[in-house]
Subunit: 338 residues, 2 copies
DNA sequence: TTCAAAAATACAATCGATTGTATTTTTGGG
DNA sequence: CCCAAAAATACAATCGATTGTATTTTTGAA
């Protein structure tokens, strides 16, 4: 039943050698055009389909790149993936998409599987749980080129494509301040991830610029899921210090908070102005629409892929890690316009 | 640089045969425990990692299943994928996720790549452009088990996991009627896809039940992107027959229409009530919140995977295609409550 | 017509792991 | 202490394609 046509079957059918068939199918100049035609038509007739397992094994390389993201359902990540696919496709590479679901264990497993499948390279954005880099160091020692995008780890010799999160956090916070907020809460994520550390740094920087005292109790750390936003909102309201602004390190948690505030009858933005991060599509339509920081996902995907492919095709081993930093932009909507 | 440790390296280091190493790594009872221990520790020491290309080639099978969806960014599909991953992971299978982006060409390419990589089976939801089944018939002849979910084609011997779209369309339309609508427009998709044909059939069935004349000019066909919804809304408004209800075969187009209506100052649901389909997260937060039909994505993914794995592990060739039909449920929100 | 160069094709090893069969080693009952 | 059975290990073929080298065939200039 299974299609078992191999180059040997074709060779036998035409009484020629398998090596010639292989070369013909790869359009090698060493094979006569007439022979190529015969082989191609016979291959077609027999429903031949190259066995990439065998091919890749022999060539000791694949033209597949692995992509690991925390969740494909996040708009930012699916945009990045689109960018990756486009760039990879143009270069003749396939893409395997995997999601860690923010779990270190899954991330480890995925790295293992990708390496076992001998992918040509890996693009990844680490999970929130990733505080242990063994699997990544392993991949590095192993010689598999990889590159971080958005969420990275500091590993010697590994490049990354990032956005300027300090600036993003600064812009978001400054925007709130310029709209009259004086007591601004902040939802942050795991501090092991520099994106969250940096957004927080931007927040603090903005407070400093405007001489607003930094109150650590207004900064809540969580996994930034919707439920975390809801609970964070509750926590903030319970503080003696009343907040009038909130900068959340992602849109999802911001929305969780919005729902809670709305439920409590708190007016947004009048009583509390809110700014998110990532520009999820949902943020545009929620009421009030959510001011947020837009990240160029598609472009990040394209650039990352281009850099990774360079790395893959680089013969030399001179590792020159570089950080590519892209700009984000604030999108002003109703949740912050007082 | 590249990690080249093979079972032969381990074998040589321990002065034993590679076959023993292989058996040890696979925990075969034919190898002495002490030897296993030595091999395992040496493998660890050398940073050995099984080459799945070689392994799969030899075994002539992989434990990878391919998944093809139109777009990973659609909430419904990412839920299905989560279900698939969970079920596959439990059974020791890996998952390759691919998106056709609604393009037939890409779907064809993806099928080719998956077959070339000898995946154990494929789960797919066809693209809107898919009107030609050659690539799928090819996969069938080839003997690769596959199964449709949500969007299927009628191919002899191929099972599918679907939801009851006629019922869903009926429920949506009846809901509008019971809320007082008499002139209900409908956004439909390509009629080659039975999901859209069926939702339309449900729409018509509901009209018949309530003795409302069916007006074909109120049914617009498109790719159901947001822009199609916006344009569809414009078209519907230009008709002599004024509509007071709209059933869109997906949420995205419904939202496109909502935006247009809101822009035109048309009140929802008072002047026009709207029901979508798929329950995208965005539908819950848009203002007014969108009534929609929820599909059990996660469950669809789990069931599909279970059935596919059965198919894969079935030795016999007796093809007994079956359709599994799941129920959808209407979620009533503000866009339809008059 | 001849023959060296070029073109076309065949041969054979190889990628790394698996697995059926053969051989060696160990075990334990008599 | 011997030997058959069991256990452990070694040998060798194989999966399907690729590729360096060798051989055969063709070409065309002298």
């Amino acid at each position: 039943m299974k299609n078992k046509t191999t180059i040997h079957d074709i060779a036998k059918a035409l009484s020629i050698d398998a090596s010639t068939v292989s070369r013909a199918l790869n359009n090698s100049p060493r094979v006569n055009q007439k022979t190529k035609d015969r082989i191609l038509s016979k291959a077609n007739e027999l429903g031949y389909q190259r066995n990439l397992l065998a091919s890749n094994l022999r060539k000791n390389k694949t033209n597949t790149i692995g992509v690991i993201v925390p969740r494909i359902s996040r708009h930012f990540f699916s945009s990045v993936i689109s960018g990756i696919e486009e760039a990879a496709y143009d270069a003749g590479y396939n893409v395997i998409i995997c999601q860690s679901l923010e779990q270190l264990k899954r991330e480890r497993d995925i790295v293992g599987t990708l390496l076992a499948n001998r992918v040509a390279g890996v693009l990844l954005s680490v999970s929130m749980e990733t505080n242990d880099y063994d699997h990544l160091l392993n991949m590095k020692n192993n010689g598999t080129p990889f590159l971080f995008f958005d969420r990275h780890c500091d590993i010697e010799g590994i490049s990354s494509v990032l956005i300027d999160d300090v600036q993003g956090g600064f812009d978001a916070t400054e925007h709130l301040i310029l709209n009259g907020c004086k007591n601004i809460g902040h939802f942050s994520g795991p501090q092991k991830l520099s994106i969250y550390k940096n957004r927080l740094a931007g927040y603090i920087k903005a407070l400093e610029k405007y001489k607003i005292p930094y109150r650590p109790e207004l900064v809540l750390r969580s996994s930034l899921m919707e439920i975390d936003g809801t609970e964070g909102a509750k926590t903030l309201l319970s503080l003696p210090h009343k907040i009038d602004g909130l900068f959340s390190a992602n849109d999802i948690a911001a929305i969780g908070a919005m729902k809670y505030f709305k439920n409590e009858g708190i007016r947004i933005p009048d009583e509390i102005a809110i700014v998110g991060f990532s520009n999820e599509p949902i943020s545009e339509v929620i009421d009030p629409s959510l001011t947020t920081i837009d990240q160029p996902g598609f472009q990040i995907g394209q650039i990352s892929t281009k850099l990774l492919l360079e790395e893959i095709n680089k013969s030399s081993n001179l590792k020159k890690a570089n950080k590519t930093i892209l700009k984000s932009s604030l999108i002003e909507r109703d949740s912050s316009r007082k």
